[in-house]
Amino acid sequence: MQPIRDKDFDQLFKDAFAEAEVTPSRDLWSSIESEIIPKKKRIIPIYWLSAAAVLLIATIGILLYQQQNTTDEHKQLASNIIEKTKSEVHEPVAKDTAKVVENVVPVLPVRSKAVSAIAKTKVKQDVKPALEQQQIITAPEMQKQETTVAKVEEPKKDIKTKIEEAILQPKEETVIVASPTAAKTDEPINDNEQSNKGIRNVGDVVNLIVNKMDKRKDKLIQFRTDDDDSSLSSINIGPFKIGKRNKK
């Protein structure tokens, strides 16, 4: 017999294994099956994951808030309320003043510059302080907040008349425009009512983050921050919705 060439030697193996079959001895299929099944069930824990994330955010929020609460001592309360009332009347006042300004300009051409300047700095400032600031300063307790908020609604209705009043009293206006608080009011108006109130507590922080990530109307998690105390107002995790955004 001749020594075999590599090529033939390889071919021998190739042929032998081309159609080779070895029947599995163990019941392999059942173990394979049991390995495949858990893959399908892994979809469910995503809900658990999001629920856990919400819980985590909430706990961190509460902890941070408690810390902040001890240092803050409610000193910001009065200014907070002012800011808030301002922002609530923001848009309507701006529009109305714009209209009024148009009407007024031809009547009082000399004062047009002053009036337009006031319009830019949002006249509601002038409308509000006279009526509300006193109340706010004398009654800074949280309980009174709702009453102040309620009163904010009222002025809206007869805003025109008040603006007219304001325009008729130009001396007061100019003083307020010149005051340093006027600059503050020039903040840009955002779609989200939360963001133009500024960040006062942890609820605001969470809302801000959630707003950035979640563009739905009902957010993943939403804190009510109208009062200085942030409280959970709504949760929206897929099928689970708790609470609705309390819109005006």
Binding site: P3, F13, K14, A20, E21, P24
Partner: protein, 177 residues
């Protein structure tokens, strides 16, 4: 196959039943023993069911399954290589001067001699001779040089030839039963 893509359990079982014996034969070549081969077979099928959506229909389906299986076997070898850190003995094997009668050798005998090979030799021999990889591909896959692949192949061949002669010498009839 469509059923398998959709994750139909019955169809997956059918696919397994139709192909498992062939695939176990593939795994056996790459493993030291049956136990190891069946472990690789299991891993391979899990991979196949996970990746079945990636199969676009180019080439035969069985060929695709076989490729996944071979890759799984190679992966398993590389993992074992790290954990076992096998030191291979580089002995010089001389070409056997005598020839032998191939006609009497069955697949199971050849399987036995392949499984006896050192892991590295077995990998290179399988990949080059049966699967048709080039030395370059083998080198890249196993992390060795092209030259090392070539020399391991020739050593593997020499060992196999010796083993086959031994087998025949010690009474070939007993192996076939």
């Amino acid at each position: 196959m469509e059923g398998c893509k959709a994750g139909d359990r019955k169809m997956q079982e059918l696919l397994y039943k139709q192909t498992a014996a062939k695939m176990l034969a593939v795994c056996m070549r790459y493993a030291r023993d049956r136990m190891e081969a069946e472990d690789v077979l299991q891993m391979g099928y899990i991979k196949i069911f996970q990746k079945i959506k990636e199969y676009r229909g180019d080439g035969s389906f069985e060929g695709w399954i076989r490729r996944v299986m071979v890759n799984t076997a190679i992966e398993s070898y590389r993992k074992n290589l790290r954990s076992l850190n096998v030191v291979e003995i580089d002995e010089a094997y001389e070409q056997p001067s005598t020839g032998f009668d191939f006609g009497t050798l069955g697949m199971q005998d050849l399987m036995k001699v392949i499984q006896k090979l050192a892991d590295g030799y077995r990998m290179v021999f399988n990949m080059y001779v049966i699967e048709g990889y080039s030395h370059k591909e083998i080198g890249e896959t196993l992390g060795i040089s092209e030259g090392a692949s070539k020399s391991q192949l020739s050593r593997a061949r020499a060992i196999l030839k010796e083993e086959i002669i031994k087998m025949e010498g010690f009474g070939y009839a007993t192996y076939t039963g």
